[in-house]
């Protein structure tokens, strides 16, 4: 028994035959597979979700204990800012992240360049990095407390360690990715070693190094929160944990929002850095 679909198919050749007598447009087949950045749609979706969330809270669909409305979170942030507690916690975290990230990055860049440029450093460095990189760095915090005491040092050292390995890997990958023909070109003009490192290898590796910064910034944020949850009086991580223990969900989410804003700000800063330093791409 012929179905409706079959009969459509049977009619198709007749249509084609009928059309063959005159010119007909070539069917366009090249659509799709080219998504473009829809900034507006992203913002609209974000506003819609927050509005829905707010509405669900205001209408009493969701208990404020489990999920306070966005307005309650905004009020909590405002109060924290007014009392000064917000700045105390943020400052404690920023100091830890800043010093840990700088230390880890400085060491990572030096070691990464050494691995990228020297056979001996490569052999030794890659072996150690392969062995130590997979360790979740937060697991080393108790050991670092034992070694360095219970002050700021173990937290900073944990962040520095986490940042160090990712930085070293992104730096030596970046050095490896510098086109060899550029290095040979420089050598063919008798450009000295240090000038090749500064003027060819460093800028050539920079895209990879900056991509590494993006990763290490989030590693640093993750580790500072974890470290502060394990042992700190101040800091966003400590604050979030305390709020959770006291079931102050609005405060807890205020801390989470601040972390998110911090992450966004760092991402933006790296975007600016990339736009300035990698404009030639």
């Amino acid at each position: 028994m012929p179905s409706a679909r079959c009969s459509m198919l049977e009619r198709a050749p007749q249509q084609t035959l009928g059309d063959e007598s005159g010119p007909r447009p070539v069917a366009f087949r090249g659509a799709g597979f080219m998504p473009s950045d829809g900034r507006a749609s992203g913002w609209i979706a974000l506003v819609l979700v927050i509005a829905l969330w707010q509405f669900a809270g205001s209408a009493g669909w969701v208990s404020p204990l489990f999920l306070p409305a966005p307005s309650a979170i905004a009020v909590a942030i405002y109060k924290l800012a007014m009392t000064g507690a917000l700045w105390q916690h943020v400052a404690a975290s920023v100091v830890r992240i800043g010093s840990g990230w700088l230390l880890g990055t400085a060491a990572g860049v030096i070691v990464g360049f050494a691995i990228g440029l020297s056979t001996l450093a490569r052999g030794v460095g890659i072996t150690f990095i392969s062995a130590l990189f997979p360790i979740p760095k937060i697991a080393l915090l108790p050991l670092l407390i034992l070694w360095l005491g219970i002050g700021e040092e173990p937290k900073i050292a944990t962040i520095a360690l986490g940042v160090f390995f990712s930085t070293a890997i992104s730096v030596y990958s970046g050095v490896d990715a510098v086109p060899r023909n550029l290095i040979r070109m420089a050598q063919s003009f008798n450009v000295p070693f240090h000038a090749i490192v500064v003027r060819v290898i460093w800028p050539g590796a920079l895209p990879s190094i900056l991509a590494g910064f993006r990763i290490t910034a989030s590693v640093a944020l993750l580790l500072v929160v974890s470290a502060e949850m394990i042992g700190a009086q101040f800091g966003i991580g400590a604050f979030v944990l305390q709020a959770g223990n006291l079931m102050q969900t609005d405060q807890l989410l205020a801390g989470v929002v601040i972390l998110s804003l911090f992450g966004l700000a760092v991402g933006k800063a790296i975007n600016v850095l990339e736009a300035r330093l990698l404009h030639w791409r």
């Binding site: 550029l182 003009f189 450009v191 003027r199 030639w280």
Partner: protein, 257 residues
């Protein structure tokens, strides 16, 4: 200043690439190196320019470099090898930065090199903004800036379209016209070799050996004349007949690899 290939042999691992290659590039002379694919032309150029240590033999220089030459043996690369983060001007100045030249002298040299290659209006452009032909002109300007005795050109036109190739070939002929600079010109394009070279070193299939050294019996200026075209074409055909069988073998070898 003469450049001498003195019994050069080279192998990569167990693969013999060059076998006992010897010839001399006299001062101001343009020597083309042709041969089937994989015969070691580019390897030979790297050895001649000191970028690769040969397994046996050596590259030698004889005589003094011309006065003011900052880099007697200077490469022009197939892929241009421009620093993408530097402007045209900075790329041309790159090899001068570590020399004894002061800032004013450097600028004068760069200006002169840019003018000779028609790049003066593009000094602030980045390589990504330029066409392939213009990029290679930057490579040539950079080479001219160090006042070489001998240009080592590794298939400098092979990444370019035919019209751009023609324009740059005219530039090469103009730049080499006064005999102040010699050149070693590696190419697979026999027409380029016949138009530019004083002598053509024909290498055999791998391992590359000198099969023949062919002299072009007319000056570059004479080659521009219409009645010279027949002779050049005949020379080109002679060269092709030397290489053809081996080129076929080389191609099959690559396909079976």
């Amino acid at each position: 200043m003469d450049l001498i290939a003195d019994h050069i042999s080279h192998r990569f691992g167990g693969l013999d690439v060059l076998d006992n290659v010897s010839f001399t590039v006299a001062s101001g002379e343009v020597v083309a190196i042709v041969g089937p694919s994989g015969c070691g032309k580019s390897t030979l150029l790297s050895i001649l320019g000191g970028l690769l240590r040969p397994s046996e033999g050596q590259a030698q220089l004889r005589g003094a470099a011309p006065a003011g030459s900052l880099n007697p043996l200077t490469f022009v690369f197939q892929d241009f090898a421009l620093l993408p983060w530097c402007t045209v001007e900075a790329n041309v100045e790159f090899p001068l930065a570590h020399t004894a030249l002061g800032a004013a002298a450097r600028k004068a040299v760069v200006d002169d090199a840019l003018r000779r290659t028609g790049l003066s209006d593009f000094r602030s452009a980045y390589p990504k903004q330029l066409s392939g032909g213009m990029r290679q002109r930057v490579g040539i300007a950079r080479a001219l800036a160090v006042r070489p005795a001998i240009l080592l050109m590794d298939e400098p036109l092979s990444a370019l379209d035919s019209q751009t190739r023609e324009l740059l070939m005219e530039d090469f002929i103009r730049l080499l016209a006064d005999g102040a600079m010699g050149a070693v010109y590696v190419t697979h394009n026999l027409e380029e070799a016949v138009r530019l070279a004083d002598r053509i070193v024909v290498l055999s299939r791998r391992p590359g050996r000198v099969r023949e050294i062919v002299e072009i019996p007319m000056t570059r200026a004479e080659r521009g004349a219409i009645d010279a075209r027949g002779k050049l074409l005949a020379l080109q055909n002679d060269l092709w007949s030397l290489i053809r069988e081996e080129a076929i073998d080389a191609e099959r070898e690559v396909q079976h690899a």
